[in-house]
């Protein structure tokens, strides 16, 4: 487990260096005995550690939505996409003051096992190409996640 922790953090730091995001983080599903929660486990470029306490319900928040749908997500301008009064539903965006972001699912054995997020603290910094690039990266596997997506056809 200790080895994984180091791996994920190093990988994430490296990604940020390559891709130039202000902030990147990795959410993983944590399985407790009778609960199943999603948490932002690793981050790089973060303003503080507040995000660590956040437990996301499936379908809630950036990670919750990507986790549940298994679809990548792009928000070019947070102010336009999310009403200010609903911003509290997206703690990571609020706490890290993100203004544009992309988020992709991390697959493992045909299931979504986590979410990778890259964000900027100013608007209009993300493009569809960046979303594809991040998605491709996620499909190559991160840490112990093999990136194998479930294809229905």
């Amino acid at each position: 487990m200790m080895k994984n922790r180091v791996d994920y953090q190093q990988e994430l730091d490296q990604f940020r260096e390559w891709l130039g995001y202000d902030f990147m983080s990795l959410a993983l599903a944590e399985s407790a005995e009778y609960h199943y929660v999603i948490k932002w486990k690793y981050a790089t470029g973060n303003l503080n550690d507040c995000f660590k306490g956040i437990v996301l319900q499936s379908g809630r928040g950036i990670a919750g939505i990507v986790f549940k749908t298994g679809k990548p997500m792009i928000i070019e301008n947070v102010a336009q996409h999310i009403d200010n009064e609903l911003l509290f539903n997206y703690p990571i965006v609020r706490m890290e003051k993100l203004k544009s972001l992309v988020a992709v699912p991390l697959w493992n054995d045909n299931r979504v096992a986590g979410v990778l997020l890259g964000g900027f603290r100013n608007e209009q910094r993300v493009t569809i190409e960046m979303l594809h690039q991040l998605d491709e990266l996620a499909h190559q596997g991160i840490g112990t996640l093999n990136g194998k997506e479930l294809k229905l056809s």
Binding site: Y34, Y36, I54, S58, E85, D109
Partner: protein, 351 residues
């Protein structure tokens, strides 16, 4: 007819009544021509219709009349009181007039013969707007109470069903699944089972969350303090907001109605703070003082100007007041731009 005081004659009294009454009085002949109308009547009729009335046009009153309430219809011109005063009883009915400056107003009216030989009629109107408003308010209040009660009961039922039945069934299926793990050495099968177990655990969690969000069982089973503590813990976990909670209630219980009102108002007030205050700290205190149950929700966020246009729908604060009224509670809202907001609810409780 007798009059007790010789200083007054019935004629002078009637003249005074006619001149100064708040009631509008019209006199008509059998053709619907106005013979006379008092100042209160002139007041409510628009100028052009007034002219028609005075010039003696028949049925000029139709220019202001917008129908009356019959036994079968809310507003109608069928069997008009004016045309057929003898057919139905028009000693007291409700009529709608398009009044000068006040739009359509409903009046309690009477239309009856005062001289059957000459066929003279008196039409008298009493403005009932305030009474109707009061009545409507009372009615609305009762309706609101029933609606809220029905909603809470339905939520309680679904929440219980989810928690006690659906979640329990799923739980036993999950336990069965866990037992399977010890019955095989097949690693692919084990891996697959692990995934299924994860999915089912997540589903179980979703169902539990749904149940708590509908209506926390803790509120019914353990009371306000317990329900608040778990609600605030969830806020902290899900949204990263810290709620500083103070309570001196311990495990004291109140009527289910009061507990529901307090819980829902607090929930709404805290949600408002989350949405608009732009702060991550909220203070909630609940205590009993002078036979009053008190709830205070305050934040040191951006506040707002009381009476200004709401940023949201504005229904939140309205709903808070409505709910408080149901149990005879009083809500005070204090807000200063830049300094924060405080909501204070007081409900009287009887031992």
């Amino acid at each position: 007819m007798s009059i007790s005081n010789p200083n007054y004659s019935i004629n002078s009294l009637m003249a005074k009544l006619y001149e100064n009454s708040m009631e509008a009085i019209f006199f008509f002949d059998q053709h619907g021509k106005v013979l006379a109308m008092n100042p209160a009547a002139e007041e409510i009729v628009a100028d052009d219709v007034l002219e028609q009335l005075y010039s003696g046009q028949a049925n000029a009153i139709c220019g202001v009349c917008r129908g009356y309430m019959s036994e079968t219809e809310l507003r109608t011109c069928l069997t008009c009181y004016f045309n057929a005063p003898d057919v139905d009883d028009f000693s007291s009915f409700q009529v709608y007039l398009d009044t000068k400056g006040k739009g359509i107003v409903s009046y309690a009216a009477s239309y009856h013969v005062i001289d059957s030989d000459q066929q003279l009629y008196a039409f008298m109107l009493k403005d009932l707007t305030t009474q109707f408003k009061t009545q409507e308010k009372f009615y609305q209040n009762t309706m609101m109470k029933h609606v809220i009660e029905a909603q809470e009961n339905e939520r309680k039922r679904i929440s219980r069903e989810l928690h006690d039945s659906v979640a329990q069934e799923l739980m036993s299926a999950l336990i069965d699944l866990r037992v399977f793990k010890y019955m095989t050495q097949d690693t692919t099968l084990l891996q697959k089972m692990k995934h299924t177990e994860a999915s089912m655990t997540r589903l179980l969690d979703d169902i539990r969350n749904l149940a708590v969000e509908l209506r926390p069982a803790a509120l019914d089973d353990f009371g306000l303090e317990a329900a608040f503590r778990s609600h605030f813990k969830r806020l902290q976990e899900s949204y990263g907001f810290t709620v500083e909670f103070e309570s001196t209630l311990c495990q004291k219980r109140y009527s289910s109605e009061i507990e529901t009102v307090i819980y829902r108002i607090c929930q709404e007030a805290v949600l408002n703070a989350l949405k608009y205050a732009q702060t991550d700290k909220i203070k909630v205190s609940i205590y009993e003082q002078n036979k009053l149950l008190q709830l205070i929700v305050e934040d040191e966020g951006i506040g707002f100007e009381i009476g200004s246009d709401p940023i949201g729908t504005g229904l939140g604060l309205y709903g808070i007041r409505e709910r408080a009224e149901l149990v005879g509670g009083i809500v005070n809202i204090y807000a200063t731009p830049g300094k924060g907001t405080k909501i204070h609810l007081q409900i009287s409780i009887l031992d």
